[in-house]
């Protein structure tokens, strides 16, 4: 299926097993940095850039790959799309400073140019706006930003949709990515390992009482968290879409380095065969 799509000259929307296939037109560009804003969470930033292309082609689940002048670290680094403003032609990404690329990004100034490739990703989130569905989005750490975008997208397309976002972190000051969710009419549940904010416990503790036959779960974050969310959903017969975060050397499907094992034994490229999979396909 994916190979077939790669051979196509035009881009279309496909749906199968509940996941949307949407290859955006990939473009490499030098986008202009609009702002780099530090968050209250230590070492976390939101970078907003001007890109009419990314703003019009990005969908929830897509990511972009950034190249910065980082000396001996040569590869691009992937970042999920956080917010999109098509009218202003701007998108933003949320990141924490981890290595040389993110260090360079944290020091960028408005007007600087940023080398970006995107939008990337083959299978992305499919909210399937069926009436009566309760959309439950479960995120941890850097997995929250794409879910924020998804939550707002669902509400924008179906203003009466029931959307709950469960956000987990080790401690209160690491809760990120919740901007404007309440304004968008989304229910937000916070969970912290140390009880410093919201539910004292794991995201699965908050998820369990919400799981009903009309639920649909979407998750992104650390692999152990997604595994737990995926397995809990599966045990309750609830569809779960997982957005896998792996080390992606190229982001466009040519290096075959970002693979994860599927239950049928095949190694799947998370960049173009994913990053979003039905949880029941992944061999955790």
């Amino acid at each position: 299926m994916i190979n077939f799509l790669h051979g196509m000259q035009t881009y279309e929307l496909f749906r199968f097993v509940g996941i949307r296939i949407y290859f955006g037109v990939i473009k490499k560009e030098a986008a202009q940095v609009v702002s780099v804003t530090p968050l209250s969470a230590p070492r976390h930033f939101v970078l907003t850039m001007k890109s009419a292309h990314l703003a019009s082609h990005s969908r929830p689940g897509h990511f972009i790959a950034v190249a910065a002048d980082t000396g001996s670290a040569i590869l691009r680094k992937p970042f999920s799309v956080y917010t999109v403003n098509p009218d202003a032609g701007e998108i933003s990404i949320l990141f924490s400073v981890y290595g040389p690329t993110t260090t360079a990004m944290s020091r960028m100034l408005p007007g600087d140019s940023i080398d970006v490739l995107g939008p990337l990703g083959g299978r992305i989130f499919d909210p399937e706006p069926i009436k009566g569905i309760h959309h439950i989005l479960v995120g941890g750490g850097y997995g929250v930003p794409p879910l924020n975008y998804l939550a707002k997208t669902i509400r924008a397309s179906a203003p009466d949709a029931m959307v709950t976002v469960i956000i987990g972190a080790r401690t209160a000051n690491l809760l990120v990515g919740d901007d404007d969710l309440l304004d968008a009419g989304v229910e937000v549940i916070y969970c912290t390992d140390d009880g410093s904010a919201g539910v004292h416990g794991r995201v699965t503790d908050a998820l369990l009482p919400l799981l009903k036959s009309d639920s649909r779960v979407y998750t992104c974050g650390p692999t152990p968290m997604m595994k737990a969310v995926g397995e809990l959903s599966e045990a309750h017969g609830v569809d779960c879409q997982v957005s896998l975060e792996t080390f992606m050397p190229c982001g466009v499907g040519i290096c075959v380095g970002c693979v994860v094992k599927m239950r049928d034994g095949v190694f799947s490229r998370t960049c173009t065969d994913g990053p979003v999979y039905p949880g029941c396909e992944v061999a955790w």
Binding site: G7, I26, R76, P249, C250, V256, V259, V260, K261, F267
Partner: protein
């Protein structure tokens, strides 16, 4: 437009410019179709295609190291049947020669795949992957002159397409292997394949690659590759496709000056899939600025310091 002759010849394969892609660094040409029109390339060298489908190695398959990457993909591919049915038709939609990289566990495997490619007209040249370091149990044909020659000879019998032997740097003297391949009937050589290595996570006290060993590529290996090209250029008469760490047009110029007739952009494609296009334009610009009317004048034109 400039008047520089950019055409080069690899055996009977005519390339409109000296730039191709490194096998395994450009997929099967369709992945980056938004970014790279194939008919601008001198040739497209596609990912390794084996006799049977291969699932590849478990992750972690790639790690980043200083100025390079280590990979142990394990030749994941759909096999020759998949290539002929699903990959070749797309590639044939472009006016661009196709070089198919062929690995094998014995000379018969190599010959089988090349025979199928020849019969189907699904390639314009074959590159024999004598030295993929990531496949366990396979003999490394690139480290022994007789073994390398046996593969070239087996393939030579079944095709009239140009046969390119891809050589490994993981040998004491690459010239010996180069000569053996030339004598066995190879039309060209490509070099270098990756440099075998490993990486360790000191915090976890574990190897970083599931396969333990991987192949180093990227700018870190360029000096090794340049020397291999120059040494072989002075040893054999057949053309050389030079590769290893090309990240900009001037890197490609260095390979041509060392004796390469053509060059391949490899790991650089992961950073910028449009690198090949930049290199093509850059080589032409270099020729114009330095008064070369023919790109072939660059080949082996390096002189002592």
């Amino acid at each position: 437009m400039s008047t520089v002759n950019m055409t080069v010849q690899i055996g009977s394969l005519k390339m409109r410019n000296p730039v191709t892609t490194g096998s395994g660094t450009f997929g099967f040409g369709s992945e980056t179709k938004d970014l790279v029109p194939l008919d601008r390339l001198g040739a497209v060298t596609v990912k390794a295609t084996t006799r049977e489908r291969r699932l590849g190695n478990p992750p972690q398959r790639i790690v980043e190291t200083a100025s390079g990457i280590l990979n142990a993909i394990g030749l994941q591919n759909g096999g020759i049947d998949d290539y002929l049915a699903n990959k070749a038709p797309y590639l044939r939609g472009f006016d661009c020669p196709i070089i198919v990289n062929v690995p094998g566990e014995n000379p018969n495997d190599f010959a089988y795949v090349v025979e199928r490619l020849t019969a189907a007209g699904a390639a314009d040249a074959v590159e024999l992957n004598l030295s993929c370091p990531n496949v366990s149990h396979g003999l490394d044909y690139a480290t022994d002159p007789q073994l390398a020659a046996s593969v070239v000879a087996a393939v030579r019998k079944v095709t009239s397409m140009p046969v390119i032997a891809k050589l490994s740097p993981n040998v004491t003297d690459i010239r010996v292997i180069a000569k053996a391949c030339e004598d066995a009937g190879a039309d060209a050589l490509s070099m270098i394949n990756t440099v075998v290595g490993t990486a360790i996570d000191p915090r976890k006290r574990k190897f970083r690659l599931a396969n333990i060993t991987g192949g180093l590529s990227g700018p870190a290996v360029k000096p090794i590759a340049l020397l291999a090209v120059w040494r072989c250029y002075n040893t054999v008469k057949i053309p050389i496709i030079g590769m290893g760490g090309i990240a900009c047009p001037l890197d490609a110029i260095e390979f041509m000056l060392a004796g390469a007739t053509a060059v391949a952009c490899g790991t650089g494609n992961f950073v910028d899939p449009t690198l090949s296009l930049e290199v093509i334009d850059g080589i032409e610009k270099y020729c114009v600025e330095n008064g070369f009317a023919d790109v072939n004048a660059l080949i082996g034109a390096v002189t002592a310091a």
